[in-house]
């Protein structure tokens, strides 16, 4: 009896914290804090994966999301250090409209979930969710195997990597207006003489 009870309590606690973290992601004004909230939300999702008997997926989730994606986002936020990127102020109208649309979506999907008759299922059988069967499925060329999508995803990742490098490169192709080589005033000349600075803010006077 103790097992299901612990499972239930943990589900509701983790679910509540995930929703709180998700709300923090969309409502925090400082983007870095939003990114940290996203990290927390993704970590609790890894907890969900463990509850759903997908331990390998939980590991991948933490490895890729926390170790990779969130770190990348934090890097990007740090690289573009300016007041604008740190603060994000949605206007009240946007808030109202956004909330209305998302709540409508929530009601719609919840209703759909509640009224749909799902196939009979049994939770007694533990799914073979270990790394071995996932690896076998990913490299299985037969029916029900995923070798073609796997290769496509590999290609996608390679393309993304090359694309990322190409876009972030400084080299200006000839006569390209949108890549300047870092010599435009807006890119480099962020230095303000001491005399023109607001001593309280430390940055340029706005």
């Amino acid at each position: 009896m103790i097992g299901p009870a612990i499972y239930t309590v943990m589900f509701w606690v983790v679910a509540a914290s995930t929703v709180l973290f998700a709300l923090a992601v969309v409502n925090t004004r400082k983007l870095l804090r939003a990114a940290i909230a996203l990290m927390a939300a993704l970590s609790t999702t890894a907890g969900f994966y463990v509850m759903l008997d997908a331990q390998f997926l939980a590991g991948v989730q933490v490895l890729v999301y926390v170790g990779g994606i969130v770190v990348l986002i934090v890097f990007a936020i740090m690289l573009t250090r300016s007041g604008e990127l740190l603060e994000d102020h949605p206007t009240p109208e946007r808030r109202v409209v956004g909330a209305a649309i998302s709540i409508m979506f929530l009601i719609l999907s919840a209703a759909a979930v509640w009224v749909s008759p799902f196939a009979e299922y049994s939770t007694g059988k533990t799914p073979p969710n270990d790394a071995l069967s996932i690896g076998k499925a990913l490299l299985d060329p037969g029916p029900g195997g995923y070798v073609a999508p796997f290769e496509v995803i590999s290609l996608l990742l390679l393309a993304a990597m090359i694309g990322g490098i190409v876009i972030a490169r400084k080299t200006p192709p000839p006569n390209q207006p949108f890549t300047s080589g870092g010599d435009l005033p807006g890119e480099t000349d962020v230095y303000t003489p001491l005399s023109q600075r607001d001593p309280k803010r430390g940055g340029p006077v706005s």
């Binding site: 994966y49 890729v64 949605p90 799914p127 069967s133 393309a159 006569n175 435009l184």
Partner: protein, 142 residues
């Protein structure tokens, strides 16, 4: 004691509770997508939505066909796509920020017109603006 445990276990999440949870997370992501103006903020919200979608795959896998692992495989694909998306997205945002000094999606309207206004960490003067427009023109002349 056992009675208490049993009453707690009665609230054990079923398929519908799990799906409701992912719907809530997805809706929160949607809200962020709609309200954020900052491109990075939008990306964060999109990550949240992708994450809830991946969770859905695993939930259906777990409850509807527990003998298979297709849901987990799909979730891995979703994670891989999210990684690719973030790499390219962040590269674009950093490049854009470098050039335009902003990542506000509302101001990313250069495709409409030649540059007429420019706001960034440093106020651009007329000369710089003209220079950019000249570059823009010469690009089109070629």
């Amino acid at each position: 004691m056992n009675q208490l445990l049993a009453s707690i276990a009665a609230y054990a999440p079923g398929l519908r509770e799990w799906l409701l949870l992912t719907s809530v997370i997805f809706s929160i992501g949607l809200y962020g997508l709609l309200t954020r103006r900052n491109a990075v903020g939008i990306l964060l919200a999109v990550e949240l939505m992708l994450n809830s979608a991946a969770l859905n795959f695993v939930i259906f896998n777990r409850f509807c066909m527990p003998a298979r692992i297709d849901g987990s495989v799909m979730a891995i694909f979703v994670i891989a796509v999210a990684a690719a998306e973030v790499v390219v997205g962040m590269a674009i945002f950093v490049a854009l920020y470098r050039y335009r000094g902003t990542v506000d999606v509302n101001r990313m309207d250069t495709m409409k017109d030649p540059v007429t206004s420019f706001e960034g960490p440093v106020a651009f003067n007329k000369e710089v603006l003209d220079n950019i427009n000249k570059q823009y023109k010469s690009h089109h002349d070629h």
